[in-house]
């Protein structure tokens, strides 16, 4: 049915694709640390050797009721619902930054529970809905 030439090309290509898949998988596996954009508080907590001098990013939810904003200094707690990190920051906050919503902070760890940020990004989730629907959902909860 298929000519010998076509068949051999097909086998060669399949082998090539399979080996490429394996190679790419291992490259990403070894690069994992660099591919993730931020660490969650739990990942920070479980990390054996953290460098406190290197700039890193942490992310999670802004804990409800934790935000204090006294003029120059903004304090809040980042949580992944298992562990928490206290964050201090002075500067402008993005519009979508608010309690209960996602956040990514860039800066340095003082210790495993305290983080000094010099940049704050707001992270939103994949839910899109009109305000009225969100109000109804909130009421029914």
């Amino acid at each position: 049915m298929l000519s010998k030439k076509v068949e051999s090309r097909m086998i060669f290509l399949i082998l090539l694709l399979l080996s490429a898949t394996v190679i790419i998988f291992f490259i990403f596996k070894s690069l994992e640390e660099n591919v993730v954009y931020f660490f969650s508080p739990t990942e920070i907590y479980d990390k054996p050797n953290i460098s406190f001098n290197k700039k890193i990013r942490i992310g999670g939810l802004v804990k409800e009721g934790s935000l204090t904003n006294n003029q120059a200094l903004i304090n809040f707690i980042v949580t992944d619902l298992n562990n928490e990190i206290m964050v201090s920051y002075s500067g402008l906050l993005p519009n979508l930054f608010s309690e209960g919503k996602g956040v990514v902070a860039e800066g340095k760890l003082k210790d495993k529970k305290y983080f000094i940020a010099d940049k704050i990004l707001a992270k939103h989730d994949e839910n899109y809905m009109p305000p009225e629907v969100s109000k109804i959902l909130e009421k029914s909860n």
């Binding site: 993730v36 660490f39 979508l96 899109y128």
Partner: protein
């Protein structure tokens, strides 16, 4: 369906079909735009900036879809050496390239008011930028490699290597922590976009797919005519 894209069918294609498609496309995009910009509600968190989604998401889908087809065509081309398959892929490339650029630019315009930055090097944004580079490499290889056989081989290899990037783009938001949000539309579960926003999104997607089809048909026909002309010149 594939039979409709055979060279003989495409070469006998008249402007009636293209014009008909053009008319339908303009109608759908107009309805989609009115729905997206005026009728659909603002988002409960993002407000009106959510409207960028109606261009951003369809562009990204088309950019990925085009490269998927290019990759498949490249595999078929290397195995079976059918000439018109690689011409199909060649005709798809500029469409996907432009839509990946639109996706990146609109995403950047969307990122500033929501995240607070134009650009970050997270896995989703970086892999999308790589897709754009793959498109450039693919197009430039056709452009600047003079020998047809050589260009055909090089572009096919680029198309196949680039294929690996597609699942990385798609699942980057699930595999790693990213600033980019997860997918709202998946095959396995209900969309997390309210239907008042999902409907204009689907309409816009449909319009942009028809637009892509029109550009593809025009380019593909031109490529086939060039091929025919080359053959004629060789015979004379």
């Amino acid at each position: 369906m594939f039979k409709n894209f055979l060279p003989s069918k495409i070469l006998s294609l008249d402007n009636k079909l293209i014009n008909g498609l053009l008319f339908v496309m303009i109608l759908i995009v107009l309805v989609g735009l009115v729905y997206a910009l005026f009728i659909s509600p603002p988002d409960y968190i993002q407000g009106h900036s959510v409207r960028i989604m109606y261009v951003h998401v369809p562009s990204s889908f088309i950019a990925l879809g085009c490269f998927g087809l290019i990759g498949i065509a490249s595999i078929l081309n290397l195995i079976f050496k059918i000439k018109f398959v690689s011409l199909m892929a060649k005709s798809l490339a500029p469409i996907g390239c432009i839509f990946s650029l639109i996706s990146i630019v609109t995403g950047s315009l969307w990122g500033k008011p929501t995240w607070g930055v134009w650009w970050v090097w997270d896995a989703r944004l970086t892999s999308m930028a790589i897709l754009f580079l793959f498109y450039l490499a693919y197009i430039f290889s056709w452009q600047f490699v003079n020998n047809y056989e050589k260009a055909n081989k090089i572009t096919s290899v680029i198309g196949i290597i680039g294929l690996f990037n597609l699942p990385v783009i798609r699942y980057s938001v699930d595999w790693w922590n990213t600033l980019h949000q997860s997918s709202s539309i998946t095959l396995t579960s209900a969309p997390t976009i309210h239907y008042t926003m999902l409907v204009p999104l689907i309409i816009m997607f449909l319009g942009m797919v028809i637009y892509s089809l029109i550009i593809f048909l025009m380019r593909y026909k031109t490529e086939l005519m060039k091929l025919k002309l080359d053959k004629k010149n060789k015979n004379n």
